[in-house]
Amino acid sequence: MEIFDILVSASFWAAVLRIASPLIFATMGELICERAGVLNLGIEGIMVFGAFAGWMAVYAGLGLWPGVLVAFASGALFGLAHATLTVPFGLSQHVVGLGVTLLATSSAYYAYRLALPEVTSPPRIEPFQPLDIPVLSDIPFLGEALFSQTALTYLAFATVLIVALVLYRTPLGLALRAAGENPSAVEAQGLSVTAIRMGAVMVGSGMMAVGGAFLTMSAFSSFFFEMVNGRGWICIALVVFGAWMPGKALLGALLFAGFDALQIRMQQTPLGADIPYQVFLMVPYVLSILALVAMSRRAEVPAALMVPYNRGER
């Protein structure tokens, strides 16, 4: 009964889109990397750094959209470090990715302590405000549920469309997918696998950082340690769940956000009050594992994922 009441409230669906937004950015970022053949385990740390960088830029007076750009650029920079080590040098993507996560996370914390040595609680910024889309936001129920979001949420959905169009409708997308499936064919076309993969990892990492920045610039308006809290790892599971396809990954992110929004609301019901809150907080992680198990038999992994490409070597 309570579940029904929750599901018919517009604020629930608005929350689903809000919770999904950072996941969508980061999942699309990871998806680009993996379609080009590179597993990017730097995602968790890059999201932390993006959350910090965007927030700090706004705090320093740069404005919201320049803040998003700063976050993207910072992510791309960590992406460059990751790509340099994993693509031309072909080092273990597991080890480098975890190293980048450690490096990006600790860099964000170090910079935070340097920038704000005296504070006990982090300062707040003026975040993105909900943007009512004319006409559409006046539709009863749907308007409040879908069309009263912040600009970053709309951008998240636009990103899925752009990623899908580029991947499936442009020569660049074809080359990128080929780099992850059959790199020697790309090289035979006179294109550089190294350049494509490095570019993909940089752009993808930038998107992960924007996903992190959503947390500080649209959701919480402040930077906290451990605020990303495993979202990056969840996004890696979402890429698998979405079978490396943007549309399905979006669906996964929404489904996931739906369960997350539901568990938050269930905590406040009389039934939820009897269950330790930690059980509810476990839900996202357990769901991610279940999603991986469900897709394990069917997932079509890019053939050259995690296979370094060294020219002239067969």
């Binding site: 080590l85 080092l91 980048v100 476990m282 992680y285 594992i289 198990v293 060294n310």
Partner: protein, 348 residues
């Protein structure tokens, strides 16, 4: 650019490049200190002094290295078989939980309680890793993500217990467990010095793992599976079973970190028992090139950086996170340096 194997790498290459990686890390750390407005030489001096400048400092480093040896060994054993166990943090907490359960609930006398706690911890840690590994072996589910996610689930589970059934009634509302009795704690190695037998157990474990790797069939099978699973299967090695055995060993080792922290140092279980020992274990193992005895050396090195940075930041205005950045940088430079000992970069 292209990579070309170096036929016979000279001594300058095999030793010089890793030394260069450490030097580059020192340069990065100095730059970070300068960013904080501190004198880099003074900062580095304070770190070294804080890690090894006195008997107290050195013992602190040995104590901090103890859990890192265990988690480093856990990672080294698993990575050798290309089993990506990123869940040492969860296995550590599973071990700590069993240690506290046996130590506070059973009322066993000390000499019985200590081995019972250790064995229960090892079993619990092994069990925690068994789940993801069975999913990998049976269903092909990637263990990187599942072991990572288990870290978060385990921490929430511990939090639930510490605020519920395991909560210390005398804990002034803090989420912590009761302490295990004095006689069930690990004794000090030398009377009066703050170094417990957990460190001794860590050293013994490193030797045991090394013997397993070089002297037993399992060690051979783990290496074979890690190098080429298809070839190993073709050679008649039961790859799945080897993976499971590796997992039990790895999870058990990580759990001993939790056992030793609780029984040797803290006495009770809290949510900040481990400041990421499980994750740092990955760096420790990689810096040691996955060699069990090397793990001891690299754990001491990494622990020294953390202990030294803690002590330094009390004196200078440089945040302690300089240690985390340095360790991550050392890892990335070192894997690159190791690669370049075997390959040279050629144009074209």
């Amino acid at each position: 650019m292209r990579l070309e194997p170096v036929a016979a790498p000279g001594l300058a290459r095999t030793l010089g490049l890793p030394a260069l990686a450490i030097a580059a890390t020192v340069v990065v750390a100095s730059a970070l200190a300068m960013l904080a407005g501190a004198n880099p030489f003074a900062t580095l001096g304070l770190i070294v002094k804080g890690a090894a400048g006195s008997k107290f400092a050195a013992l602190e480093t040995l104590n901090r290295a103890t859990p890192l040896i265990f988690t480093g060994l856990a990672v080294a054993v698993a990575f050798r078989a290309k089993l990506w166990n990123i869940g040492a943090e969860a296995q550590l907490y599973a071990g700590a939980l069993m240690t506290v359960l046996i130590g506070t609930q059973m009322g066993l006398p000390g000499p019985v309680a200590i081995p019972a706690m250790a064995i229960a911890a090892v079993l619990a840690g092994a069990l925690v890793l068994l789940g993801p590994v069975l999913l990998k072996v049976r269903l092909g589910v990637d263990e990187v993500v599942t072991t990572l996610l288990f870290n978060f689930i385990m921490l929430l589970f511990i939090s639930m217990l510490l605020e519920g059934p395991l909560k210390d009634p005398m804990g002034m509302g803090w989420p912590k467990s009761e302490a295990i009795p004095r006689d069930a704690r690990l004794p000090r190695i030398v009377d009066g010095l703050r170094l417990h037998w957990g460190f001794g157990l860590a050293l013994i474990s490193a030797v045991v793992v090394w013997v397993i790797q070089v002297k037993t069939t399992l060690g051979y099978e783990i290496r074979a599976v890690g190098q080429n699973p298809q070839a190993a299967r073709f050679a008649g090695i039961p790859v799945g079973r080897v993976m499971v055995k590796t997992a039990l060993l790895s999870g058990g080792l990580a759990a001993l970190a939790g056992f030793s922290e609780v029984a040797g140092l803290k006495g009770n279980l809290t949510l900040d028992l481990s400041p990421g020992f499980g994750y740092t274990g990955i760096v420790v193992a990689m810096l040691a090139l996955l060699h069990p005895l090397g793990v001891v050396v690299s754990a001491l090195f990494v622990a020294g950086i953390f202990v030294g940075a803690d002590s330094m930041s009390r004196a200078a205005e440089v945040p302690t996170y300089i240690a985390d950045i340095s360790v991550a940088t050392a890892l990335l430079f070192m894997v690159l340096a190791i690669l370049l000992t075997r390959f040279r970069v050629v144009r074209g």
